[in-house]
């Protein structure tokens, strides 16, 4: 079009480097050509023609006392009062602009509509540069300082980024223009409405209808808006960015749009606290501009250049803000939070103001919080998080073992002591495997509850839990299926890398164990006729077998139903296995090995070790009656070979056993004698008699002189006495028993005076009195007399000693003696 006076071929606005956004009028020009639907003349009321360009000084009159507007709106333009101060500055600038080189003014005198576009086209880029040239020379207070702070070059860049939009805009549909045109003809307000609609449609994907006088503003403003967002400069520009969308959708959802600026905490919303300066410099100009447009198109370009806003981002703000004020008042009076302009605040009642401020404060607080929380948002992607979780789970699995194994033998093997100990000690734990299970569960539970605790994730904590559990499950599966490579050999390298964890530490030595090691028979080393190592090994074998048997007992299958073949088979297998183990144990004990004259019996050798003694109670739990009897017989038969008997002989001199021996004796008493004692209490008279007869074949003197031996004898005799009191057993048995007893009595009688320990002061001799009492009960009157004669001295000594002792001790001492005395129908009292 010739109206440009401008060669369009030279200036290709579509060229990418050309910052199309800055050249919105060119696009308009193009539109003019191919889209005739909208004629500027149709929408333009021609008021501009009536205005005098030169009488700018009266602009204040025109706009300051804007009578055309309804009453309440007047308040909106209050800022004119304030900005009146700046009015002269503006004028100065006008003058200044007029003195500019003609390049800027060149397109000035043309017909109105073309004039617009023409000014825009050529003068567009230049004015912006002019502006820069001018900038330093500006008066101190133009009201646009804020804009100065904003580097304008950015506009260019931004336009390149975003400004493609205007070019792409297809010719606007005519619809919106039609309604706007008539109103535009009548009032200023309607003009703004047209502008608003234009902008709305420019914003939307659908191209704007673009009424012809200010379509040029749309794209740049858009660009500018984005630019603000990009640069995040929370200055006065927000005004434009914030207000504009609202303008489009007055009752809409300003939040969505507002949030962008909010994302910068500097200005959460247009806070009421913001200095009015921003508005001051914004407000004065905008109201002028539209008018000026109408008055004198030249002024517009001049203004634009002068303001330094070739892209016109701000000019609309004023009218928009003002207009918005109208809207607010008119159509949406009851939406205080919609207030974006402090000026509006003034219009509100106290209540509304308070509510508004409160809401504002809340919102600001919330935004701040969101900002605080979101500072680290998105540092990790979901994949990252998953990855970390998997690593953690795998380590957990590696550290604690397979959670599925908890409660099984394997975990029992790993944590045997703790589990059994806590079972024994407390019993508060219902299940031995609880602690470990708890561990895994606790982990899961914690994660789950933590998730559930977050309100935002309320929709599926359960879901999350499940997912977590599945993940654990999968991790466990994977860990199980993974071949256990304990070493990594990197190809081509000489070394290996060993992996280790707490459960299986890295093996620092790699020693091959030969299974055949057991086969190599070493000649037994006999020291003093004993093979200590061999004995200890045998003992360990006993223990191992015992533990196997205990495990076996734990795995006892349920009592089978009548016709449940499978269960029956299971029970059968279990029984068989138990029998095999029993045989193994019996073999290991070697109870029935023949006696060898020069060597201690292997079973008794086991008993010479403390752990061998301790094993007896356990062995008795896993052996048959016959086996137990064999053990009892064996022990009594070899009593005089037993170290605790041989070396535990009482002597007349005051020698004390050493601590180890005392301990051994105590242990033997506790472990072996007690076990045998309770077993003996199940035996019949014939067996007791038979065993007594066997004992008599041994060195009774030695046996009786030891605590252990004496206790064993007491055990047998008292059992017989118990049976006698129950009046069970037949004549033959009694006869046999008496025969054995008489034989025993005859053998032991000479030793009786010497079986007492030397010391009388302690109650160490109680067991002797017990033996004597057991003998006395079963003795015939003749035997009783012999008994009394044999121990008379000791009795008298003890009674005499009792008189010198403190009463409590004396009673105790005499009590022991009385035990014997009463068994033969006497009492210590008689002696005193």
């Amino acid at each position: 079009m010739s109206f440009f006076n401008f060669d369009q071929s030279r200036h290709n606005t579509a060229a990418p480097g050309f910052s199309q956004a800055h050249d919105p009028f060119a696009s308009l020009a193009n539109r003019e050509e191919d889209a005739e639907e909208i004629d500027f003349e149709d929408t333009y009321d021609g008021l501009g023609d009536q205005l005098e360009e030169t009488n700018d000084a009266f602009n204040d009159d025109t706009f300051g006392d804007d009578v055309g507007e309804p009453g309440p709106v007047g308040k909106d333009f209050d800022f004119f009062g304030q900005t009146a101060k700046v009015a002269n500055v503006i004028e100065e600038e006008n003058v200044r602009f007029n003195r500019q080189p003609p390049a800027a003014k060149a397109p000035q005198p043309v017909a109105q509509q073309p004039a617009y576009t023409s000014t825009a086209g050529p003068s567009f880029a230049q004015p912006s540069y002019n502006y820069f040239a001018q900038a330093p020379a500006r008066p101190a207070r133009t009201g646009y300082e804020k804009y100065h702070e904003q580097p304008i070059e950015d506009l260019q860049v931004d336009a390149a980024l975003w400004g493609v939009a205007p070019k792409k805009q297809p010719p606007p549909p005519a619809q919106p223009a039609a309604p706007s045109a008539p109103s535009g003809g009548r009032k200023m307000l309607s003009l703004e409405e047209v502008e608003a609609q234009m902008r709305a449609q420019a914003k939307a994907a659908t191209p704007s209808p673009a009424p012809q006088h200010q379509p040029h503003q749309i794209p740049p403003e858009q660009a500018y808006y984005y630019q603000q967002q990009a640069q995040n400069q929370p200055q006065a520009h927000f005004q434009a960015g914030v207000v504009e969308p609202l303008y489009h959708q007055p009752q809409g959802h300003p939040m969505t749009i507002l949030q962008r600026p909010h994302s910068k905490p500097a200005t959460p919303a247009q806070p009421p606290t913001q200095p009015p300066a921003i508005h001051q410099h914004q407000q004065p100009v905008p109201p002028q501009q539209p008018t000026q447009i109408l008055q004198n198109p030249n002024r517009l370009s001049g203004d634009a250049a002068k303001i330094g806003l070739p892209i016109h981002p701000t000019p609309p703000t004023g009218p928009q803000a003002a207009h918005q004020g109208h809207r607010q008042q008119g159509s949406l009076p009851r939406q205080p939070p919609m207030i974006l302009h402090p000026a509006q605040l003034a219009q509100l009642s106290e209540e509304e103001k308070a509510a508004y401020l409160e809401q504002e404060a809340k919102r600001a607080k919330r935004n701040h919080k969101i900002f605080q929380m979101s500072r680290d948002n998105g540092i990790m992607t979901p994949q990252d998080k998953n990855f970390i979780t998997r690593i953690q789970l795998q380590q957990l699995v590696a550290a604690t073992g397979n959670p599925n194994e908890h409660g099984t033998d394997e975990s029992l093997a790993e944590d045997f002591y703790y589990q059994v100990h806590s079972q024994i000690q407390a019993g508060q734990r219902q299940h031995p495997s609880q602690p470990l299970n708890q561990f895994a569960q606790t982990y899961l539970f914690q994660t789950g509850s933590r998730q559930g605790g977050m309100r935002r994730h309320n929709r599926g904590p359960e879901n999350h839990m499940q997912r977590m559990e599945q993940q654990v499950q999968r991790a466990v599966e994977a860990a199980k299926n993974k071949p256990k490579n304990k070493q990594l050999v990197i190809e081509g390298s000489l070394g290996k890398i060993s992996f280790s964890n707490a459960k299986t530490p890295k093996p620092l030595l790699n020693i091959k164990r030969h299974d055949s090691a057991n086969d190599v028979k070493k000649a037994a080393h006999y020291v003093n006729g004993r093979d200590k190592k061999g004995e200890l090994k045998a003992l360990e074998l006993v223990y191992t077998t015992l533990m196997k048997m205990e495990d076996h007992d734990r795995n006892m299958p349920m009592a089978p139903a009548e016709d449940d073949q499978e269960a029956l088979a299971k029970v059968f297998a279990w029984t068989n296995e138990g029998q095999a183990l029993n045989e193994q144990l019996w073999k290991a004990l070697r109870v029935q090995d023949p006696d060898q004259p020069d060597r201690i019996h292997p079973f008794m050798a086991l008993l010479s070790y403390n752990k061998g003694k301790r094993a007896i109670p356990r062995i008795f739990r896993h052996t048959t009656h016959e086996q137990r009897l064999s053990i009892l017989t064996r022990v009594l038969l070899s009593l005089d070979h037993l170290d605790v008997v041989r070396e535990g002989q009482v002597t007349t001199d005051q020698i004390q056993f050493n601590a180890a021996m005392r301990e051994n004796i105590e242990l033997f008493m506790a472990a072996v004698v007690n076990t045998l004692f309770s077993f003996t209490n199940e035996l019949g008279l014939d067996l007791v008699g038979g065993i007594l007869g066997l004992v008599c074949t041994r060195n009774v003197d030695v046996i009786a002189k030891s605590k252990i031996g004496a206790s064993m004898l007491t055990m047998l005799l008292s059992r017989a006495e118990t049976i006698k009191q129950k009046l069970v057993g037949n004549e033959q048995e009694w006869h046999n028993w008496e025969m054995h007893y008489n034989h025993f009595f005859n053998i032991i009688e000479p030793s009786l005076p010497y079986i007492f320990p030397a010391s009388m002061n302690t109650n160490e001799d109680t067991y002797v009195w017990q033996l004597l009492a057991a003998m006395g009960i079963g003795a015939s009157p003749d035997q009783q007399q012999r008994l009394v004669i044999a121990v008379k001295d000791r009795v008298m000594e003890t009674v005499a000693l009792g008189k010198t002792l403190p009463p409590a001790l004396a009673i105790e001492r005499l009590g022991s003696v009385n035990l014997f005395m009463r068994s033969i129908g006497l009492d210590v009292e008689l002696l005193q």
Binding site: H421, S422, I424, M547, R614
Partner: protein
Amino acid sequence: MLFFSFFKTLIDHEVTVELKNDIQIRGVLKSVDQFLNIKLDNIQVVEELKYPHLSAVKNVFIRGSVVRYVHLPQESVDIPLLEDATRREAANQATKAKQG
């Protein structure tokens, strides 16, 4: 895992931990982990005059690797059970060694 298993049973018992720098700390065992790191509560240094800087300390976390001895309360150790546990551990190790 035997030691871990064992020390777990001593939780809430008083033990004396002797460190490799000769400090002996007596306190209530609060927790122990697989590395035999030890947490003691209510601690008291055995030779307080020698280590006055520890007299104000109420509880400690001891890295397992710096422990020389742990003095056990005898009455809370089940010796036969411990023996059995040791046997099991040995058996486990043997099987593991064979497998590995």
